[in-house]
């Protein structure tokens, strides 16, 4: 019987009631008395020099309160980068200034130039048209490789060139080269991991408020991590100390990474509210989101795999160009390096691995983490090159993978990380079962009878989640710690508020986190509420990204709850006149070992707040505990995915017919929510593989700048998915044994789809060894034409 409450139960989500009745409170639903509205004037050229901005006519227009330009931000900090990568020569990366409003130059289409604050959005936009901006258009650097050539236009005049860093990592390059020289076979693949737009359905919104009475600024914002925004904006941009700055992220309509970062609009609204002494609100349109949300992926890679005569992997070598866009977004430098290079071993015991990454500035929107962030790029190239190797060697791609699996744990890879647990054989066995791999040939024949080509693609993935230990990431260049925090506040009647640093924007924390506390205390989940998203209510928090919430913040919550239990036991021991060592807790009752004495949870909590009969000389009244948790390692979810596609040979259209995912997430808190996370990740992965493409033309204009051209997966683009997470090797180093599940689907699915497309085409005799994403109908058709 599945559990119906506590850890492992598919508890229905309590937050759903407000979302299903229109009672959710998203940032755009917040209106502050006296608020004004800002419209940003953005660059319509990719690269240009601002020769002048004339705001005088616009300032005279109805409803205009004030117009800000870059001059208003002179002497104020720019947007900071939170991660400093050191290059292969030991030099720090190039770190150009990132002003809130453009200073002298614009560097991508969408770069904010000026901001019109008015009594309504319509008036602000009306007035914006009267602002005269004199821009001299300059040649733009758009293509990454071209941007590194000597004659390329420079994105930043104060830098020598457009290279942000040239990073190398892993085994000794000479040893790797030697292994390639001695290889029986080398498989080489050049591929593109195309640029994507995260596209959470809620566009970004910021509302800045300022109280002259308390000198306190408040920012309501669509963020995955309000404390991080408070830290970055307060300390680096605006110089507002933490105790005078409150950041609130209420209900947030999805993030997928794009709402981690500190954006110019947040700083602007907070700054402008102080300047004009009125609240300032900004609501992005979707069109604006396409030009101002940090984008994802955008790697161009050459990967080479060396095999010995028995098809054992002997070495791996990769060279990647990673697009940073025009400025360094908050965590951009870490994505192609520490979140990508460290995952190149995948699930395999390849002994020698060398990774080289060149990060490049271009006149495009900044690129940063998007669901998976670095790990999808690593997985895609590795699993594609293995598939290609299997075909070149004439061996079964599943067998080739199995032969090279890591099977003993812990396993130290040649790329720095140490996998604590895993069972890749088990997830592959499970996949073969749930995907009915054995039945594929019959399904292929059935498809062929209907004139369709059918292909099967299989791959594995591993990811590193719960980004971790602060002392390690500090050495790697992180400018923040990566712990998390939780406060468990037990009220007198026994109800509990848990203030957590993680932020829920779809992940169901409000339901899943109480399941853990309820399990530990043996009380009903309904007695426990989660408080998140407000820097004034919770102790601290690094927020939600990198599938870290339950592994890191959940662990902090467990530690705080353990402190609660320890103190409550002292109180219970006092109430029952027993020894603290004999006190147990079960089903909401404190018991004394070897006796039938018990005292209820509520009696203990009441005693803590009404301490008439209480060990005051020993412990303080009250029952509230805080814990900070800093993990000792990453967690390593892993799994195996299978996709079956049909290709219409007349049009090149690919349809996903079946998709199966066997994941190992360690222990599971709420299976229903975990399934949902995997479904969503697979949906996005199919989107990347077949549909989505954030494309710029040679002048730096975004071609896919709305849903008219950026192909978002719809309900009829995807099938039902078969997902399974019964293979569970618990994480060895966090108290819940959990690994995290938020990104797996997006990491594991793109190679499965492309492997399947290639398989389908080869089944019909087409000599297609690779097709770049998205495998759109026209690309597939063109590939079939040879």
């Amino acid at each position: 019987m599945p559990k119906d409450h506590g850890i492992g139960a598919s508890s229905k989500r309590r937050e759903d009631v407000r979302f299903l009745t229109g009672a959710g409170q998203y940032t755009d639903d917040i209106n502050v008395q006296g608020q004004t509205y800002v419209h940003f004037i953005r660059s319509d050229v990719a690269h240009g020099r601002i020769n002048g901005i004339n705001t005088s006519a616009a300032e005279a227009m109805p409803g205009v309160i004030r117009i800000f330009t870059g001059a208003d931000f002179e002497g104020i900090g720019g947007l900071p980068c939170g991660w400093q990568v050191t290059d292969r020569h030991g030099e720090p990366m190039k770190e150009p200034a990132h002003p809130v409003l453009a200073q002298g130059k614009v560097r991508h289409v969408g770069d904010p130039i000026a901001a019109v604050v008015a009594e309504s959005y319509a008036k602000a936009r009306d007035a914006a048209e009267a602002v005269e901006v004199d821009i001299e258009e300059l040649p733009a650097a758009i293509d990454m490789k071209a941007a590194l050539e000597g004659n390329a236009p420079k994105v930043h005049d104060d830098l020598a060139d457009n290279l942000c860093y040239d990073w190398a990592f892993g085994s000794d390059a000479a040893e790797v080269d030697a292994a390639f020289s001695n290889a029986a076979h080398v498989t080489t693949l050049e591929l593109v991991n195309q640029r994507l737009v995260a596209n959470p359905m809620e566009p970004r919104v910021a509302v800045g408020d300022f109280s002259r009475a308390t000198d306190e600024s408040t920012l309501y914002t669509t963020s995955q991590n309000p404390h991080v925004i408070r830290l970055l904006m307060g300390a680096f941009v605006l110089g507002i100390p933490e105790h005078k700055l409150r950041v609130v992220a209420p209900d947030v309509g999805g993030g997928f990474g794009s709402k981690i970062f500190h954006y110019a609009e947040e700083a602007f609204c907070t700054f402008a509210a102080r300047q004009i002494n009125r609240p300032v609100k900004w609501t992005a349109s979707r069109s604006e989101a396409f030009l101002s949300d940090a984008q994802g992926r955008d790697h161009v890679t050459k990967i080479e795999l060396a095999l010995d005569a028995d098809n054992n992997f002997t070495a791996l070598r990769t060279e990647t160009y990673a697009n940073m866009g025009a400025y360094l977004s908050t965590f951009a430098p870490s994505v192609p390096t520490w979140l990508h290079g460290t995952l190149m071993a995948g699930n395999y015991k390849t002994p020698l691995i060398h990774v080289n990454v060149k990060a490049v500035f271009t006149n495009t929107v900044p690129v940063d983490a998007y669901r998976g962030a670095g790990r999808p790029e690593a997985t895609y190239q590795l699993e594609r090159v293995i598939d290609k190797a299997a075909r070149e060697r004439g061996v079964d791609p599943i067998a080739l993978r199995r032969q090279n699996f890591v099977t003993e744990f812990p396993y130290a890879t040649p790329v720095a990380v140490e996998y604590d647990t895993g069972d890749y054989v088990a997830t592959m066995d499970k996949l073969e079962e749930i995907a009915d791999i054995a039945g594929f040939e019959a399904r292929r024949k059935e498809s062929e009878a209907r004139g369709k080509l059918r292909g099967l693609g299989v791959n594995c993935y591993i990811e590193a989640c719960g980004i971790a230990p602060s002392n390690l990431v500090g050495q790697l260049g992180a400018r923040a710690g990566l712990y998390d925090a939780a406060t468990v506040r037990v009220n007198a009647t026994g109800t509990i508020s848990v203030m957590v640093g993680a932020h829920s924007h779809g992940q169901g924390h409000e339901t899943a986190f109480p399941q853990v506390v309820a399990e530990m205390l043996g009380i009903d989940e309904s007695m426990i509420d989660i408080v998140h998203g407000d820097s004034s209510k919770i102790p601290f928090g690094m927020g939600t990204y990198g599938s870290r919430s339950i592994a890191v913040c959940g662990s902090a919550m467990v530690r705080a709850t353990e402190k609660i239990i320890a103190k409550a036991k002292k109180i219970a021991a006092h109430l029952m006149e027993a020894s603290e060592a004999d006190i147990g807790i079960k089903d909401g009752q404190f018991t004394v070992a070897g006796t039938d004495k018990s005292v209820a949870w509520g009696d203990v909590t009441l005693a803590a707040y009404v301490p008439h009969n209480y060990p005051l000389e020993e412990i303080e009244p009250g029952l509230e505990e805080t814990a900070f948790y800093d993990p000792s390692n990453f967690t390593y979810p892993a799994g195996a995915y299978a996709c079956e596609v049909e290709v219409d040979p007349d049009t090149g259209k690919v349809t996903v017919e079946r998709f199966a995912a066997a994941d190992d997430f360690g222990n599971i808190i709420n299976p229903m929510i975990v399934d949902g996370q995997v479904h969503g990740g697979i949906g996005q992965g199919i989107g990347q593989a077949l549909m989505e493409n954030c494309a710029y033309d040679e002048n730096g204009q975004l071609i896919s700048a709305s849903y008219m051209d950026y192909a978002m997966p719809r309900a009829d683009d995807v099938p039902f998915y078969t997902v399974d997470h019964s293979c569970q090797t618990p994480c060895t180093h966090n108290p819940l044994g959990v690994k995290g599940c938020g990104e797996a689907g997006a990491i594991g699915s793109p190679p499965a789809v492309i492997n399947a497309v290639v398989d389908a085409l080869q089944s019909a005799g087409h000599n297609v060894t690779h097709i770049d994403m998205p495998a759109s109908p026209q690309r597939v058709w063109a590939a079939m034409q040879g």
Binding site: L20, G22, D28, E202, Q507, M672, G676, R714, A715, D716
Partner: protein, 161 residues
């Protein structure tokens, strides 16, 4: 400015609107019914779907003045009279058909319109009908499942949870 009157969720309402005021702005800003969301500006995401005279429309692609005299239903008007979730809403909760909740009001309104015209839709009919509602969180699996369940069909055989 013109005064626009309509019936929203069974209640007669009036508020000021310009010619360019969209129905969704009238609902959100004028009536403070913020359950109807705006997720795009090209009429595609469907977060703003409401019913006008019983038909699903995108409230971001209709002017408030076009709804003069109309019967409008928004997500705030969908629950049962006693405040409990209606069959579709309950199915979305039971089958985890939502995550961040932003597209959800539009999804529920579209699902209600579908089930009105097709009480027992097939999986393919549901997916086809949802062409104008984009969800970025769920991969649609549990949305389709929830609508099948809301129509009284057995979803036990559908893969996974």
């Amino acid at each position: 400015m013109t005064t626009v009157s309509m019936t929203v969720n069974g209640k007669p309402v009036s508020a000021e609107a310009e010619g360019r005021t969209l129905l969704v702005e009238f609902l959100r800003d004028g009536l403070h019914l913020t359950g109807t969301h705006v997720g795009c500006d090209t009429s595609q995401c469907g977060a703003c779907v409401v019913h006008v005279n019983g038909e699903a429309v995108k409230a971001c692609t209709m002017f408030a003045q076009e709804a003069e005299g109309a019967e409008v239903t928004t997500i705030e008007g969908m629950a049962n009279a006693d405040g409990s979730l209606n069959v579709i809403q309950q199915a979305f909760q039971d089958h985890h058909g939502l995550q961040c909740g932003f597209c959800t009001p539009g999804m529920v309104m579209s699902a209600a319109a579908l089930l009105k015209e097709n009480p027992k839709p097939s999986e393919a009919e549901i997916r086809d009908y949802l062409e104008g509602n984009i969800c970025r969180c769920t991969g649609y699996h549990n949305i389709v499942k929830a609508i099948l369940a809301a129509s009284g069909q057995d979803v036990g055989a559908i893969a996974a949870e």
